[in-house]
Amino acid sequence: MTSPIPGLGKRLLKFWSDGAEVEYQGGVLKLLEHHPTARFLDCGCGDGEFAQAMAEKIGTADVNGIDVVTEKIEASGRRGIKVFQGDLNRKLPFPDASFDAITAVQVIEHLTNTDLFVCELYRILRTGGYAIVVTPNLASIHNIMYLFLGKQPVTASVSDEFLVGTCYPGEKVLDAVHKQPSHQRVFTLGALKGLLEHHGFEVEKAMGTSFFPLPGSLARVAARVDGRHAIHLLVKARKHR
C-alpha cells in the first residue's frame, strides 16, 4: 500500500485530524457551564493551552491540571495552571469531592486501568459536578474502512513503539496523532456511556463530533445525525446524589 504521492496519506490524515480537533474542542467548550467559583481539573492537560481556553469559558481562576509528562507539566505551569504530576492509571492525588468540573480530553484511550480512572473521577467530583470525556471512536467510518481492508485502525494501536498493520507502512509512531504511551482501549459511543453509567454517573449528553470524510459544517450535521459513526466521541456525565 504505497501511495502514489509520497506522504499523501499522512498529509490527508493530518488535515482530517486537525479539523476534527477543532470540532471536538468546540463541542467541549459548548458543554462547559459558566461558573466563576468552580474548581476545575483537566486530566492529561498537556501544555495547558486548551485547559486555559476551557477555564476561560467556565470563567474560573481555579484551574488545575494533571499530567504524566514532565515537560508538559512545566509548560502548563507557565500558563498559571496548578499542575500535578501523576499517572492516571492510579489513584488521583486529590481528596473526595474536590472539583466542580473535570475534563479528560483524549486521555481515557491511553489508560489501561479505565475502571479505576472513572471511579476516581466520580470520587473527586462534588455531588452535582460533571465530567466531560472525549475519545476517538472505534466505530468511525474511516476505522470501519480500515477493517474492511483488513488493516489496523491507527487509533487502535497495539504497540507503544511502532505503528504496525496500518495503511501507513513503516511509520514510527505518528507524532501528530499519537503520543507515548500509545492507546490501550478504544471506545464506541455506547461503551463510553455504559462505562460511565456503570460507575455511577448519569450521562447527560453523548454525541459524536466530525464525520469522515466530510468537511466542516457538513461533518457537523452528519455527526449530529449519526453520532455513533463520528470521528470523536464526547460524553458529559454528572455525579448525582
Binding site: L147, P153, V158, F187, L189
Partner: protein, 254 residues
C-alpha cells in the same frame, strides 16, 4: 414466545463457538514440531489441559506454565505442570534462551505492556526456537458488523468489570470476565509487523475460524480471507542475531 428463539440462537452460538474452538486447537497443534527434548513454556496456561495436549503432540514432558489466576494455576499444577504464578506485563522470571517453544494463546490482547512481552518471549527463546501466538482478530467480519451498527465489538473490551456498549443479547451467559479483560486488539497485519519489529523471523500468520460458519467452510474461508478470520494464529522464530547484542532491533520492511 421469546424464550424459544433465544434458545435457538444460544444453541447456534454454542455450536459456532464449539466449532471455532476446535479450529483454534487444530491450528496450534498443526504448527508445533515434534521434539522429545523440547523445553516448552505456555504463557497464560489456564487450567493446563490444552498445554498438555500440545506437549503430547510435541512429545515432551518438560512443561512450564505461567498463570495469573490462582485457581487456574492450582489446576494446572495438579496436572503436573510446573506453574509460575506471575504477571505477563513485567519481566519474566526465566533466564535467557531457556525454552525451545513458547506459547501465548489468547494472552497478548489482555496485556498493556505488549512490547515487553514480545521482547521477553524472544529473550527466553533459544536461537532457532519458536513462539506461537493466537489472538482474536479485530477485523473479523462479525466485529466489522458490530461497528457498522455502532456497537462495541465484544472482544474490544473497555472495562475489566462489565461488557458495555455491545450486543450480547442471548449469549451474555456465555461471556464472562475473569482477570484483566482485553486491551489491545490486533489485525493480522499488525501482529505480523509487530513480531518482525521485535526481531522475530520466519513469521507465519494464519486465519483461524470464521464465525458463524461450521468447520469445513470456516477452514476454507479463513485461509482464503485470512484478514477477516475470527482469530489470528502466528508462528514466529528467533533467528540468529543479525546485530550485536544489546542493539535495538530496527523496523523491518512492512
Amino acid at each position: 414466545m421469546r424464550p424459544q428463539p433465544s434458545r435457538v440462537v444460544r444453541a447456534m452460538f454454542g455450536y459456532s463457538v464449539n466449532q471455532l474452538d476446535l479450529e483454534k486447537r487444530e491450528d496450534i497443534l498443526s504448527l508445533v514440531e515434534p521434539d522429545p527434548n523440547a523445553r516448552m513454556l505456555d504463557c497464560g496456561c489456564g487450567d493446563g489441559s490444552f498445554t498438555l495436549e500440545v506437549a503430547r503432540r510435541i512429545g515432551t514432558s518438560n512443561i512450564q506454565g505461567i498463570e495469573i489466576l490462582t485457581e487456574y494455576a492450582a489446576q494446572a499444577s495438579s496436572r503436573g505442570i510446573s506453574v509460575s504464578h506471575c504477571d505477563l506485563n513485567v519481566t519474566l522470571p526465566f533466564r535467557d534462551e531457556s525454552f525451545d517453544v513458547v506459547l501465548a494463546l489468547h494472552v497478548i490482547e489482555h496485556l498493556h505492556a505488549t512490547d515487553l512481552l514480545l521482547k521477553e518471549v524472544r529473550r527466553i527463546l533459544r536461537v532457532g526456537g519458536y513462539a506461537i501466538f493466537q489472538t482474536p482478530n479485530l477485523a473479523a467480519w462479525h466485529n466489522v458488523a458490530y461497528l457498522l451498527f455502532g456497537k462495541q465489538p465484544v472482544e474490544a473490551q473497555v472495562s475489566d468489570e462489565v461488557i458495555v456498549g455491545s450486543w450480547t443479547g442471548p449469549v451474555a451467559a456465555c461471556l464472562s470476565l475473569e482477570g484483566p479483560a482485553h486491551r489491545r486488539n490486533f489485525t493480522s497485519g499488525a501482529l505480523r509487523e509487530l513480531l518482525r519489529f521485535h526481531g522475530f523471523t520466519s513469521v507465519r500468520v494464519l486465519g483461524t475460524g470464521f464465525l458463524p460458519l461450521p468447520r469445513p467452510l470456516a477452514r476454507v474461508l479463513s485461509r482464503v480471507d485470512r484478514w477477516h478470520a475470527t482469530n489470528i494464529t502466528a508462528k514466529a522464530r528467533k533467528g540468529k542475531p543479525a546485530r550485536p547484542a544489546g542493539d535495538e532491533p530496527g523496523p523491518q520492511g512492512a
